[in-house]
């Protein structure tokens, strides 16, 4: 008879095999990283440029360039580009973040020859036609107005502003008037400066034959799109820019308030970053975390609460994020500090330590499962000029960080006086 009260034996995760990207170089020096994994005849090609918004000279330039990269060249209109891509069942995805921008192409291998010339033209010769800029800005402005009504989005924007201030684009708070100021010449200039072989890396994943690398070299390895311009110096992140303590953006009719609590920390290259990931997981990094257990699963104050440590190229920050009923907002904040303080005052038990270790190891396995996931892990180190040993260190931090170290880190980085607190809604 099966005894259902007894759990099956737990098998420790013995090995974690991460398939590494092979590094090649195109003839013009562009690094080409290949992750040849999978049996389906499809690939993702990501063109990664150091063209994030930290490099822009005025607001919205980096994002507008990225969004409009496929909006027309000398040879093709926006419409013709879209037709060509859609006809062959391919997908383009643009992404802009603080430190990088990218264009990703998803295609079946059998259509690659048709797609590559289009992508080549787009990446080398984007023109930014006036009417496309006007349309993009108008529609983006509308989305901005809608976003301003979402407590969660407003909280994210204002929180970064409180952490980093107005002087860097990590913290700049976008204003309605900024939309009027974008000019074509800014976009063209930024495109020339930041979308070229000197700032480019190509990551290709899926079923990638040697022939595909050769094709990428033929289309992107030439010297016809070299640029003499250099990258702007990024404004230094000043620790004095942070506004700590309580802050509120009032929304009188809110049913829920968005809460953010956190501080500027450091990025992946800092020795405390990895053990802090372990500490963060205990606090708010998984469903069984302290914050979820208390504020959702015990009190029922929220649909979800979590915390994270975001890494950027020139900085990093810790944040707690949730939306709670306005009637319980004050106590939710109170409970958040109770959980932070417990981690400062008491070591976590051996049992919880083992739980978090196993969870993190298993969770890491799913983040390296499949070609596209592996490409993302590579991107996660390439942006910071880190090597794969970063992941060895990550695994080692998961397995070897002790409860005592976690308590020390909590005391070092989670003093209330150092934290910034923001409520969007009402208390």
């Amino acid at each position: 008879m099966l005894n259902r009260a007894v759990a099956p034996v737990i098998n420790a995760i013995k090995s974690v095999e991460i398939t590494k990207a092979a590094e090649q170089k195109l003839d013009n020096g562009i690094p080409l990283n290949v992750i040849n994994v999978g049996s389906q005849e499809l690939i993702k090609i990501e063109f990664l440029f150091a063209a994030g918004y930290v490099y822009q000279q005025s607001p919205l330039v980096a994002s507008t360039v990225n969004e409009l990269i496929d909006s027309g060249t000398h040879k093709m209109s926006a419409c013709q580009i879209a037709d060509a891509v859609d006809y062959y069942g391919a997908f383009l995805e643009t992404e802009v973040a603080a430190d990088f921008a990218s264009l990703s192409v998803f295609t079946l291998n059998k259509h690659l020859d048709k797609i590559l010339p289009v992508i080549e033209d787009v990446i080398k010769n984007a023109q930014f036609p006036d009417e496309e800029i006007a349309l993009n800005i108008t529609n983006k402005q509308q989305r901005f107005l809608v976003d301003e009504q979402k407590v969660n989005t407003v909280a994210r924007r204002h929180f970064l502003n409180l952490l980093y201030g107005d002087n860097t684009y990590y913290g700049y708070l976008l204003k309605h008037a900024d939309f009027e100021k974008v000019t074509k010449s800014q976009l063209v200039q930024f495109f020339k400066q930041y979308y070229n072989p000197a700032t480019c890396r190509i990551i290709v994943s899926g079923k990638v034959s040697a022939e595909i690398s050769t094709k990428l070299n033929a289309h992107f390895g030439g010297n016809d799109w070299l640029s003499q311009t250099s990258i702007n110096q990024v404004n230094t992140i000043s620790p004095n820019a942070t506004k700590t303590g309580e802050n509120i953006v009032l929304k009188q009719d809110a049913l829920q308030s968005a809460i953010r609590i956190g501080r500027v920390l450091f990025n992946k290259t800092h020795p405390d970053y990895l053990p802090m990931q372990v500490l963060n997981t205990v606090l708010g990094g998984y469903f069984g975390s302290r914050l979820m257990s208390n504020i959702r699963e015990d009190k029922g104050y929220t649909y979800g609460i979590g915390s994270g440590i975001a890494s950027q190229k020139y900085s990093g920050y810790f944040f707690i994020s949730t939306e709670v009923g306005v009637d319980v907002c004050a106590d939710a904040i109170n409970q958040i500090y109770i959980e932070i303080n417990r981690l400062r005052e008491e070591e976590i038990s051996a049992d919880e330590m083992e739980l978090v270790r196993n969870y993190m190891l298993g969770s890491f396995l799913s983040t390296i499962d499949g070609a596209f996931a592996l490409a993302d892990r590579f991107k996660g180190i390439a942006i910071y000029d880190l090597d794969y040993d970063y992941y060895d260190k990550y695994l080692s931090a998961i397995c070897n960080t002790t409860p005592k170290q976690l308590q020390e880190l909590a005391n070092k980085y989670w003093q209330k006086a150092d934290l910034t607190e923001l409520i969007v809604g009402k208390k």
Binding site: I10, N11, G38, D86, Y87, L108, H111, N139, L255, E323
Partner: protein, 414 residues
């Protein structure tokens, strides 16, 4: 092409097995054939609330999440109008823990008052977060009762109103479990790095002892044919007016479904699509426009929705959409355009077969629709659609008397 094997336990549990040794993980996906459409009209939101309660401990195991996390697993679940689906992934070596956890909660829940009290609150906060405290969040709460008069699709999965969730009792919870949560009402898919023999052996060990429940024959009121144009105008504190047009169409298992799907692709898939080019780029009537299907099991909705550009009148926006739809009725789609959406459908299917979680869910849903093998026939069905099919379907669907329109007006600025 997804290869799989299928077997049924004596208690009625359907098990589908798919082998993928390129991953160190296994995904277990359990689909229960119960959704918001199975709810009592005076107790809506219950299937979804129940999904939350499934994590509140089972007969022999006080916590669901903790033991799963302890073996390196992750899980989640979702509820739709048709189904409630639970899925987890974990390292292949620990697959037995998945069997242990899922079989125990299929056997019986712990039914603690604490879990019910807390999850009622959590779901009420979810209601606020996603439907009430968001611009345009209440659209589906308005559109469903406009489009449906008798079929239970007339309420959203979150429920008609917060009070239905607040009033849920333990007695309701228990009878819902007995009615819907048993082996013959479930489909289990195992996908990943696991041998067939082990899948079979563990299914027998953990699930076979569960008593067969009574498979209830669903007898839902079917929505009568709509014979008049319906409209609802609301004014909300949003910055931009929006329009939502809901046309009745066939259900997901109908032979004509793929025709409708390609029709929505022609209208709004990608930057080369008709609505985007004509109404956003050329006429500048909308800042954003979209066409999609609800893809429900029973006859569902073909939705066309857009946000109006600054200064554009609702009537002009409405007419422009109707004009674009009329073109599909008047003029046969050209071969090139049809080929384009077929190519897109082909690559979408190919990309959707990446990863064990996607494959497991697709297999489970296909099995619910009648046969897991349908997962491998989708491609042919798209390729078989003709321009004539589309023209005929457009005439059938895009009829003003078949449409419910929600005019969502931005409150005039003070």
């Amino acid at each position: 092409m997804i290869k799989f094997e299928k077997f049924k336990l004596e208690n009625g549990l359907t098990v589908i097995y798919h082998h993928d040794n390129s991953t160190p993980l296994v995904c277990m996906n359990i689909l229960y054939d119960v959704g918001a459409r199975d709810e009592d009209e005076s107790r809506t939101g219950f299937a979804h609330l129940f999904e939350h309660l499934m994590f509140g401990g089972s007969l022999n195991i006080p916590s669901y999440d903790e033991p799963l996390q302890r073996v390196g697993g992750e899980n989640n679940a979702f509820t739709t109008n048709d189904i409630t689906n639970y899925y987890l992934t974990l390292p292949a070596d620990n697959i037995e823990t998945a069997f242990w956890l899922e079989s125990d909660r299929m056997l019986s829940l712990a039914f603690t008052d604490k879990s019910l009290d807390v999850q009622r609150n959590v779901v009420i906060e979810e209601f606020k977060q996603r439907y009430l405290n968001q611009p345009y969040g209440d659209v589906w709460l308005l559109l469903r009762p406009l489009a449906y008069k008798v079929h239970p699709y007339l309420w959203d999965t979150i429920g008609k109103e917060i009070s239905h969730i607040a009033d849920a009792t333990m007695e309701d919870v228990k009878s819902f479990f007995i009615k819907h949560y048993h082996p013959s009402n479930a489909i289990m898919v195992l996908a990943g790095n696991l041998s067939f023999d082990r899948a079979k052996q563990l299914s027998d060990k953990y699930f076979a002892p569960i008593a067969a429940g009574k498979k209830i024959k669903r007898n839902l009121p079917q929505e009568p044919k709509q014979n008049e144009a319906r409209a609802l105008s609301v004014e909300r504190d949003v910055p931009v007016s929006a329009i939502y047009k809901a046309y009745k169409m066939c259900g997901r298992t109908d032979a004509k479904f793929h025709t409708c799907d390609l029709m929505s692709d022609i209208l709004s898939r990608g930057d080369s699509s008709r609505l985007y080019n004509e109404l956003v780029k050329k006429q500048k009537l909308f800042s954003d426009i979209n066409a999609y299907l609800t893809a429900d099991y029973d006859p569902g909705l073909f939705i066309v929705t857009g946000k109006l550009a600054d200064g554009i009148k609702m009537e002009a926006a409405d007419k422009a959409i109707a004009d674009e739809l009329q073109k599909l009725i008047d003029i046969k789609v050209e071969a090139n355009e049809l080929q384009k959406v077929k190519n897109k459908a082909e690559s979408t299917l190919e990309f959707s077969e990446m990863g064990i979680m996607n494959k497991a869910l697709n297999l489970a849903i296909s099995e619910l629709f009648g046969d897991a093998e349908m997962v491998n026939q989708e491609g042919e069905k798209y390729q078989a659609v003709t321009a004539e099919n589309i023209q005929k379907m457009a005439a059938e669907v895009f009829n003003a008397n078949n449409c419910s329109t929600l005019y969502y007006h931005a409150k005039a600025k003070a």
